[in-house]
Symmetry: C2
Subunit: 177 residues, 2 copies
DNA sequence: CCTGAATTTCAGTTTCTACAGAATTTAACG
DNA sequence: CGTTAAATTCTGTAGAAACTGAAATTCAGG
């Protein structure tokens, strides 16, 4: 009871998202749940997610916790239903930006911190000059990416799309400026 | 014998790179080897890598194979030495581009393929119209990113750096164009 | 060819992660 | 305040991934 009947295309979509999840650094169930909420486009209770995907209720509970930690899923309440319902944005741009923001925070910023500490270390002089230089260049690249990323994340999707459409032609604008 | 004596900063760098490796989707040893080759900046034989990092020789062999599959590490031969030596680029920009290119290929392009198949499916009509729409929008975003990524990857590092420095000010250029 | 160094492959072990199912806690409702 | 649905936490397990050390293979040099 309660298990949604997924049509073949939705099923394909959810299963593929789950497979890619591992390559993207989240586990299958987490990715599947997110894909399912996205494709269904309306709030679902945890037990329905569990039944539809054929996984344990406790697994869904933990996966939802992780999706909430990623700011990808929110809890919602439905009148006359004691259960929590869960939604994700149906705006792919919003999702994209959330993922980028979160990954940047987890996978990028900590390294910038460590590189700064390396360059501030009292032992830095013990390293070969060219090794020091490489650490500096690595930090510089990562800081530039970080700042640029933050700026891009603040732009409107429509603007961001224009930037992408402009693509390599941006060179021309840079030259004539 | 042969184990390099890493100074504290280099050690910190290598260990941190190894830790982050898991978040980036490669295992610790693979990330450590790459970091070590990068910071040392000269070709090293496999056994020296093994000794310096304190891991099994066979582990290094497999990890190097993976790094070569990522196009991040190359084999080199030294006169009078039968052993293979391994290097990585000391140009952080080149490394960055290689990683982006490879990850795009592995983690991005396959999904674009699946989304296209979903939209071409004879069963597509069975899905709710708004679900169809979301799949379309997802594909469109991913395709745009893909094309844009390819174009950016072709630019010179110096140009790319200018683009980043321009940052959000690109809005102004877009408007007046 | 034969020898020995270098490398890879293989088999087994350890470690980690994902997950199920049971037990427990939380909290809505009468 | 007790009852019960819902959610979470806990415990154990299966499978995957990382890793080691040994065995097998490759290959340069005599």
């Amino acid at each position: 009871m309660g298990a949604m009947n997924l049509h073949p295309v939705a099923q394909r979509f959810v299963l593929h998202w789950g497979e890619m999840g591992s390559k993207w650094g989240v586990n299958r169930t987490v990715a599947q749940i997110h894909a399912l909420l996205y494709i269904v486009g309306k709030p679902l209770p945890a037990d329905e997610l569990a039944e539809t995907l054929g996984v344990a209720r406790s697994n869904v509970s933990n996966s939802l916790k992780e999706l909430q930690a990623w700011n990808l899923v929110q809890v919602i309440h439905v009148m006359g239903d004691r259960r929590d319902h869960f939604t994700t944005s149906t705006d792919v741009w919003e999702l994209f930006r959330t993922v980028v923001r979160e990954r940047k925070e987890r996978e990028f910023d900590p390294t910038i911190g460590v590189l700064r500490e390396c360059l501030d270390s009292k032992d830095l002089h013990k390293e070969a000059p060219d090794a020091q230089q490489r650490i500096k260049e690595t930090l510089h690249l990562m800081e530039s990416l970080s700042i640029w990323g933050d700026q891009m994340l603040r732009l409107e999707p429509a603007t961001l799309m224009k930037v992408m459409k402009l693509g390599a032609k941006i060179q021309n604008l840079l030259n004539q400026k």
